[in-house]
Point group: C2
Chain length 143, copies 2
C-alpha cells in the first residue's frame, strides 16, 4: 500500500512533467494526501485535510488538482445519490454497496456480474467502456 502510493505519486509527477506543467508544493501535498487514503471524499473534506498540512491553500487549487488527478487516470469523480461530487482513488475496479441509513460504503467486485453487463450492453448495440453499480440497502448494524 505504501509502495503503491509511491508508484501512483510518481505516476502523477510524470503526468505533470509530460504535459509541460509544474510540480508545485500544493499539488504535491494534495496528491500525497489523497493518494494515500482509502474512501470517498468531497472537495470540502479534502480541502480541510490538506489545509492542516498546507495552511495557505485555496479551494480552487483543490478542485484544479483533483481534476488533474482525474485526467491522469489516478482518481475518479463520482456522484452517489447527492449532487455533491466525491473523489475516489482509482486502482483495482470495484463496485459499491451503500447503507441508506448510516451512509457506510463497502466495496466489492463480482466477475459474473461484470460479464453479464458486457453481454447486456452488446445486446443493445453498445460497446461497453465502463459501468457503475451501486447497491443500496441496510448494513449489518442498521437493519
Amino acid at each position: 500500500m505504501a509502495i503503491d502510493e509511491t508508484v501512483r505519486l510518481d505516476s502523477f509527477r510524470d503526468f505533470i512533467r509530460e504535459h509541460g506543467l509544474k510540480n508545485t508544493h500544493q499539488r504535491e501535498e494534495i496528491a500525497r494526501w489523497f493518494l494515500g487514503v482509502n474512501g470517498h471524499f468531497s472537495a470540502e473534506q479534502i480541502f480541510a485535510q490538506v489545509r492542516e498540512i498546507e495552511p495557505g491553500i485555496g479551494f480552487s487549487t483543490v478542485y484544479r488538482t483533483m481534476r488533474l488527478l482525474c485526467e491522469a487516470g489516478l482518481v475518479q469523480e463520482r456522484h452517489f445519490d447527492k449532487g455533491e461530487a466525491l473523489y475516489e482513488n482509482l486502482s483495482a475496479h470495484h463496485d459499491h454497496c451503500i447503507c441508506t441509513e448510516c451512509g457506510r460504503i463497502e466495496e466489492f467486485e463480482n466477475d459474473q456480474i461484470e460479464s453479464l453487463q458486457e453481454a447486456a450492453a452488446e445486446r443493445l448495440g453498445f460497446s461497453l467502456v465502463s459501468h457503475r453499480l451501486e447497491l443500496y440497502g441496510l448494513c449489518r448494524n442498521c437493519r
Copy 2:
C-alpha cells in the same frame, strides 16, 4: 400507457389527500405532464415544458412538486454523471445504458444480474433495498 398514466395520476391525488395536502392546479399540471412522458428530465426541462401549459408557474413549485412525486413513490431523482438531478418515472424497474458520445440512454433489465446483486449484498451483510446499474459505452451510431 394512457391507462397506467391515469392510475398513477390518481395515486398521486390519493397521496395528496391522505397527507392533508391540497390538490392545486400547478401540482396537477406538473404531475399530469411528467407522469405521461418517458425519459429523464431536469427540473429546468420540466419547468420549460409545464410553463407552456401553465405560464405563470414558478421554478420552486416544480422542485417542490417533483419532491412530492418522489415521496409518493412515483418518481425517482437520479444523478447520472453530472451534478444535475434528472427525474424519471418509477414504474417497472430497469437499468440504464448510456452513450458517452451522444448521451443517448437505453433502458434494459436483466434478472440474472439482479439476483447476483442480491447475493453480493447478502455476502456483505446488507439487506438490499434498491440498486443502480449504469453501463457507459458507445452506441451503435457512435462507435
